[in-house]
């Protein structure tokens, strides 16, 4: 306001003047000083109670013995204990009845997703799509299962694995190397490749394909079935559809017939608790392909 304060003329200023505006040199409130002292005392008490001063190895321990690592360990233990209730329930529930309990299903899917990321994604990809088409690592999202896609099948596969020597119960089968071992002539292989191209609906040479049918029935149909629809019992993939584990072009099929394929997967029993195996099976089962 325009009224000058007569008393203010006597008050000390900082001596600075900006366009005629001066600044009073007012004292600070006393309680600010007290607050400042209080923070110093607080700091000293903190040093005594908690880890504070860095030393060459570690830091001063503090008389309370606090440690953030111990805090985390306690939290992890508490979380594990809380989860144990659910894992127990998961073990006590029939595999096909898990979805009937939405809460249990949610737990199983989320726990299974965590297990999948840690244990399975290296080969099957973070999205469970088998890294890329034709990579040899099965896509778990689609509707074809080499060894079956029911909950029981998936639990069995995860527990013992495929074509490993660690477990007698591992899923096992072996395709002959028709070309490398001389079981078929290159001409016959050409014919059977064209037959497979034909039954999978791809471009092919009709004459070669017609000749290849008999080669297929003689050599392949015992596992892959007469119509090429495959047999999950021996892990023989369907050849009459659009899904190819090692690629579906003529060259890729020829490579498979020549040298065969021998994909392996480790078994997870002993590595993971049974309840986590069930959880990861529940997760995989609901990705879109479960049977």
């Amino acid at each position: 306001m325009a009224t000058p304060n007569k008393k203010n003329h006597d008050r000390p200023t900082t001596g600075h003047s900006w366009d005629g505006i001066e600044e009073f040199d007012n004292p600070m409130p006393r309680w600010w000083l007290w607050t400042f002292y209080a923070t110093i005392i607080w700091a000293v008490v903190y040093w005594i109670l908690f880890p504070a001063w860095p030393l060459v190895r570690g830091a001063t321990a503090g008389v309370l013995g606090y440690s953030s690592r111990a805090d985390v360990a306690a939290e992890i233990a508490a979380a594990d204990q809380a989860n144990q209730v659910w894992y127990d329930q998961l073990m006590a529930t029939d595999l096909n009845a898990i979805t009937a309990n939405p809460e249990l299903e949610r737990f199983a899917v989320n726990a299974g997703a965590a297990v999948f990321r840690a244990q399975c994604s290296q080969c099957h990809g973070a999205g469970a799509n088998g890294l890329r088409p034709g990579s040899g690592f099965p896509n778990l999202l689609d509707d074809e299962w080499m060894w079956g896609g029911t909950m029981e099948d998936i639990v069995q596969t995860v527990t013992y694995g495929i074509r490993n020597t660690d477990f007698p119960d591992a899923r096992y089968s072996e395709m002959p190397s028709f070309g490398r071992d001389g079981l078929l002539t290159p001409e016959e292989i050409d014919q059977v490749v064209n037959h497979v191209l034909a039954i999978s609906g791809q471009a092919h040479d009709n004459a070669l394909a017609a000749a290849g049918e008999q080669v297929f029935l003689d050599n392949c149909a015992s596992c892959h079935m007469d119509d090429g629809s495959g047999d999950a019992f021996v892990g023989a993939p369907a050849l009459n559809n659009a899904i190819w584990l090692y690629g579906g072009s003529a060259d890729e099929i020829r490579a498979s017939v020549n040298n065969a394929r021998f994909g392996i997967m480790p078994g997870f029993t002993g590595r993971l608790p049974d309840a986590q195996i069930r959880a990861v099976a529940a997760y995989v089962h609901q990705l879109g392909g479960g049977q």
Partner: protein, 477 residues
Amino acid sequence: MSSSENYEPQLYAKREPVFPRRVKGSFRTLKWWLMALMLGIYYITPWIRWDRGPDLSDQAVLVDLANRRFFFFMVEIWPHEFYFVAGLLIMAGIGLFLFTSALGRVWCGYACPQTVWTDLYILVERWVEGDRNARLRLYRQPWGAEKIRKYGTKWLLWLLIGLATGGAWVFYFTDAPTLLRDLVTFNAHPVAYGTIAFLTATTFLFGGFFREQVCIYGCPWPRIQAAMMDEDTITISYREWRGEPRGKQRKGEAEDAHGDCIDCMACVNVCPMGIDIRDGQQLACITCGLCIDACNDVMDRIGKPRELIGYMALTDETRERAGNPPKSIWKHVFRPRTIVYTTLWAGIGLGLLVALFLRTDIDMSISPIRNPTFVTLSNGSIRNAYDIRLRNMNENARQFYVTVADNPSITLTMEGVQGQLVTVGPDEQLIQRVYLTASAGTPAAAAATTPVRLWVSVSGETDRIYGETVFNGSGQR
């Protein structure tokens, strides 16, 4: 701020306690009513009931942090509708601009919780210890039975008010009757007790001891307000051209030896901030109007016209000094600046109201699963997966019907659900995986991307909403 005449440079100053004298008058009466109104709103609001069916709380105003819901009578706000709260905050901000540019620090003087609770604490103080002079005497007298008794009583009452204040706060966050029963039976959550203890302590300290220092040292608002006021802003002033030279009329002195101010210090003694309004408008003045009441009372008694201290604008000062009448309050208040603020404020308010009444109680958001972007199925068709979040903002469980907008080559299926109906619980949300499948060879399967639209409706109701997303085919980008 200090009344001492001796300004030896000091680094630190002790607070000089303020003992406001009792005052009567129109502004004091207004402040009593406003205090009753605001404390009433604060304490009663959590106890108002509002029927929302068996699955939802029946508390009219509830900030349900645990379940992330905000209830205000018939309105329920979900976290994704937080723009309503943002809009209200913007309105509150513009409202403060409006009131500050028109009426100065009216918020500080009448409505700020610090002012209201300090006023209440001073009332208690006066009730226990007596008016200004008795309080001053008690303050200066050494500790003894009387001082201990009176200060003890005062502090106890302050603590009880603080307890009621902190206690009322926690009722806004959970069902009030249940919490009250848990609180008195010592079954409530430690957080509730901790919050009450903290707010009791801050109320006790801020209302009883810090008082005006909160405004002077702690609050940024006085600084901001000073920048928002202009020459038409109504604020409290001392009519120095009428009052000076101040002094008491003594025998033998000429009639015009003194102005109207008789230097009775009434305006200073009633001031809760401990300032002298005759020094001019200043940072510490919260424009509470009590000095106007005090001065008018004195002017009435000595037979001088009122309003030696009064609400006025800066432009009035030059007018009055020149002998002209001041502009009317209305002309000060209605000026382009305040009209712009009012228009903005009302526009945002209308927008929020329209948004509130047009919103549906169903909502969906779609997140496409991009790892992988698509899956080839055994029959050659292309499948995309989406996680859709369905929100049922209704007190009843309802069935949501999910469809894909007419694209004959794309079909919709859902994980774990037969058909296209999915049930969402009352006031809940559900994340449902949805698959869109394009048959082999169709345009959608062959293209890189195809825009698609998902529709969600509630069976038996007319409201329906849609969300846009894309379908990724096997075609190369």
